[in-house]
């Protein structure tokens, strides 16, 4: 992952905290990770919750899910970086500041524009963060149901690109596009759920 290749400055500090909360406010909901920028120094901090790394925690994730979470936060950091340093590209910085001023707006951007990039990155790193046995199990032991809610008889084999697509949606569920595309009890939400669940069961085995 070479997301900051064009700059040599220190871009991001990573912290692993016992718990991480929305807006870094302990009275708010617990989250997997946050990316924030100091408004004065412009330094960016990515806080990752230890809960997603603990094998026995309620929020624990597989290695590929954790990689996706870090990728997701790095995209936030990248958007914040290029909007904070107009020398990189004045027009791009102004546009991002105007169009993507909040994490939720950045999520809309990720949903609409960045999913193919996330799919590509996940495909590149898959073999480093998953086991061969887990991958074989998914490919041989699972039947996916793309229209489970409307026509349960249709089945497809496991498809890695579909897995990367659905995994990339994690954390983007409050975007208007996700809500429109994935209503509760829809085929699309069901397929997302099937891929994420199957991957979580198998890929660290």
């Amino acid at each position: 992952m070479d997301i900051f290749a064009s700059t040599s400055r220190l871009n991001v500090k990573f912290e692993i905290n016992d718990h991480v909360h929305e807006d870094n406010d302990p009275t708010k909901k617990e989250v997997h990770a946050t990316t924030t920028q100091d408004p004065i120094t412009k330094k960016i901090t990515i806080k990752v919750s230890k809960q997603i790394l603990n094998a026995d925690g309620t929020m624990n994730q597989t290695k590929i899910e954790n990689a996706k979470t870090i990728l997701h936060e790095c995209i936030h950091a990248y958007l914040l970086t290029i909007s904070s340093y107009p020398l990189v590209d004045m027009d791009v910085a102004e546009t991002i500041n105007q169009v993507l001023p909040t994490p939720n707006k950045q999520h809309d951007f990720m949903y609409d524009k960045m999913i193919p990039v996330m799919q590509r990155v996940l495909a590149e790193i898959r073999d480093k963060v998953t086991t061969q046995a887990g991958r074989t199990n998914l490919e041989t032991l699972y039947t996916m149901r793309p229209t489970a809610m409307t026509n349960p008889s249709i089945s497809t084999p496991w498809n890695w690109n579909d897995y990367y697509f659905n995994l990339s949606l994690d954390g983007l569920h409050n975007t208007s596009s996700f809500i429109a595309d994935h209503p509760a009890n829809s085929d699309a939400f069901s397929l997302y759920d099937q891929y994420v669940k199957a991957g979580r069961i198998e890929l660290d085995r």
Binding site: H32, T143, P152, S153, D170, A184, N185, F189, Q194
Partner: protein, 158 residues
């Protein structure tokens, strides 16, 4: 006999399903009552299905949003059981069995009361086995139970 059966069902329905979470979260086996309706949907896949055999979705409104808990019937409940060759349990039981276990049964009312987060992560904290009680499958006064795993509409923010 039918009257007794009806009375038993009414008794079970009226007394046991909205349990206190402080009790439920101590249990290692929990039974989830399922009655097909607009908010309780069952999907059964064809017999040639691999792994996902069927699921049960219980939907409810929370903070003006539709949330759900989903209970999956799979060949094996987890990879460790698959390695041991122990399939997911499926059995039929008499109503008296459910009466004996009435303090371990929750229903949609429980999930509505405690919301998706507490239902998903707190209620099943110590639970090792979850059974769905499928009241749409009653044969010879025996009710179908399916060992399931769970997921939900809850997705953590990033």
């Amino acid at each position: 006999m039918k009257k007794i059966s009806l009375l038993l069902t009414l008794f079970l329905t009226s007394t046991m399903y909205c349990q206190d979470i402080s009790h439920i979260k101590t249990l290692d086996t929990i039974f989830v009552s399922f009655r097909e309706s607009q908010f309780q949907i069952k999907t059964v896949f064809p017999h040639d299905a691999k792994n996902f055999q069927r699921w049960y979705i219980i939907t409810f409104e929370e903070n003006n949003k539709m949330e759900f808990l989903k209970f999956w019937v799979t060949d094996y409940p987890n990879p460790a059981r698959r390695e041991q060759g122990i399939k997911s349990d499926m059995k039929t039981v008499k109503e008296s069995y459910l009466c004996k276990n009435k303090n371990k049964i929750v229903s949609i009312d429980f999930f509505k009361k405690y919301g998706v987060y507490r239902s998903m992560y707190e209620a099943f904290e110590k639970c090792k086995v979850i059974y769905i009680i499928d009241y749409s499958e009653i044969k010879n006064r025996r009710i179908s139970l399916y060992e399931v795993t769970r997921s939900s509409s809850l997705i953590f923010e990033e």
